[in-house]
């Protein structure tokens, strides 16, 4: 297993998944690192690495594992440069919508979030079933309910028909 290549291929997606799942960049960063540390102790077939990594990371979130000391971020958040620089009003509006998404995700059950976010990362239903510990045949139904639950919570906050694009 070429760990360097795996890290480069999987880390961005894992971090993105964890950031969406937890809503916190530091937590996502820490847990992604911890999951990769654990991956190094494993000897897995390459096609099982990605589901294993996301499952372990989700379990770390579930168990509330946090690193005791947050290490110094090597790349500060302020280094992030958006594609377009919004004006003051637009920026406020955007921040509110981001906060609404974050709150809506936080208000649905973790398993719903896990399934929805794994779906966005392109996992198969079989992989999602193993990661969430549910029957493969139930994944579609669970996803459908989760999707609707998210939309209800989000629209209730926004007072709109859904996210603006």
């Amino acid at each position: 297993m070429d760990h360097d290549a795996l890290f480069h291929r999987l880390h961005p997606a894992l971090y993105r998944y964890l950031y969406r799942l937890t809503g916190d960049a530091d937590t996502a960063d820490d847990i992604a690192q911890e999951a990769f540390v654990r991956l190094l102790r494993q000897s897995l077939p390459e096609d099982e690495v990605r589901p294993w990594l996301f499952t372990v990371a989700t379990n770390l979130v579930r168990d509330g594992v946090r690193k005791a000391g947050r290490r110094q971020r090597l790349l500060a958040a302020e280094n992030f440069v958006p594609a377009t620089v919004p004006g003051p009003d637009e920026e406020t509006d955007r921040a509110e919508r981001v906060e609404a998404v974050r709150r809506a995700l936080a208000r649905i059950p973790l398993r719903d979030r896990q399934l929805l976010l794994m779906r966005e990362e392109g996992f198969t239903y079989e992989e999602m079933a193993r990661a969430a510990g549910v029957a493969p045949g139930s994944v579609g139904t669970l996803l459908g309910r989760a999707l609707k639950r998210f939309m209800q919570v989000y629209q209730a906050q926004e007072g709109t028909d859904g996210p603006r694009r």
Partner: protein
């Protein structure tokens, strides 16, 4: 077919159905407005959900660079291996020390014992399982004054193998000393110009006879063994040779 379920429609959207299932759902959707509308709702919800996530991602700080994550992961792996090896080495040492300490005469056993005794000294504990230092029992002795130039020492029931050292001394009185600690207590019976000694422990019996007396003798179990002849001591038994101012004999029965 009956109306398609929510899960079935989502699986249809996600390409998770088998070819046969997909064909059946497609045929049903073509004929069922309700299911087609439900599919549209799910499709739109999925699109809106994805848009929400992109919005969230747009403010996400950049993660730690992959190289740094990789370096940390590898460092922790090395540390974990080192911890495992140290733990294993500790167990091996503990077992080896325990095994060595269990062997009589082992230096480890002596070290452990010394450490234990040191602990007792430091903390005031009593030494466990150790006998007090051996102290030789004091010998018992008695003097005897010659009467009319005569002194007879009678040794009775001394332990087998006891050594009797007899010498002439420049003293007016005789002296008999017998080791104690044996099964039989030491008994002295003094009479006129006579001492009878019985019992006693293993060791050396000392008999000092005054050089100035004319008749000095030592008897063992009623038998004359050594007597003074002038300024010398002589053995009465055959084969024991002639002593000088000193004579030694061993109790044998």
């Amino acid at each position: 077919m009956d109306h398609a379920g929510e899960g079935q429609l989502l699986a249809y959207l996600d390409g998770e159905l088998s070819a046969a299932e997909r064909a059946a759902v497609s045929a049903h959707l073509a004929a069922c407005t309700a299911c087609a509308e439900e599919l549209s709702v799910l499709e739109e919800a999925s699109r809106q959900f994805a848009a929400s996530l992109r919005l969230l991602d747009s403010v996400a700080p950049a993660p730690t660079p992959v190289e740094a994550v990789l370096a940390r992961a590898k460092a922790e792996r090395v540390a974990a291996v080192r911890r495992t090896l140290l733990r294993a080495a500790g167990i091996v040492l503990f077992l080896a020390a325990g095994g060595a300490a269990a062997m009589p005469g082992s230096p480890v056993r002596q070290w452990v014992q010394a450490a234990w005794e040191r602990r007792a000294e430091l903390f005031g504990g009593e030494r466990q399982g150790q006998a007090p230092p051996a102290v030789a029992p004091e010998p018992a002795g008695v003097d005897a004054t010659p009467v009319d130039g005569r002194i007879h020492i009678s040794l009775v029931d001394l332990p087998e193998g006891a050594e009797v050292r007899i010498r002439l001394v420049d003293s007016p009185v005789a002296w008999v000393e017998v080791p104690t600690g044996g099964d039989r207590p030491v008994r002295f019976v003094r009479g006129a110009g006579r001492v009878e000694v019985s019992g006693g422990g293993a060791g050396v019996v000392r008999v000092d006879l005054p050089r100035g007396v004319a008749d000095a003798r030592v008897e063992v179990d009623g038998e004359l063994r050594v007597f003074k002849d002038g300024d010398t001591l002589r053995f009465a038994g055959s084969g024991e040779g002639v002593g000088g101012g000193e004579a030694t004999l061993r109790i044998a029965r």
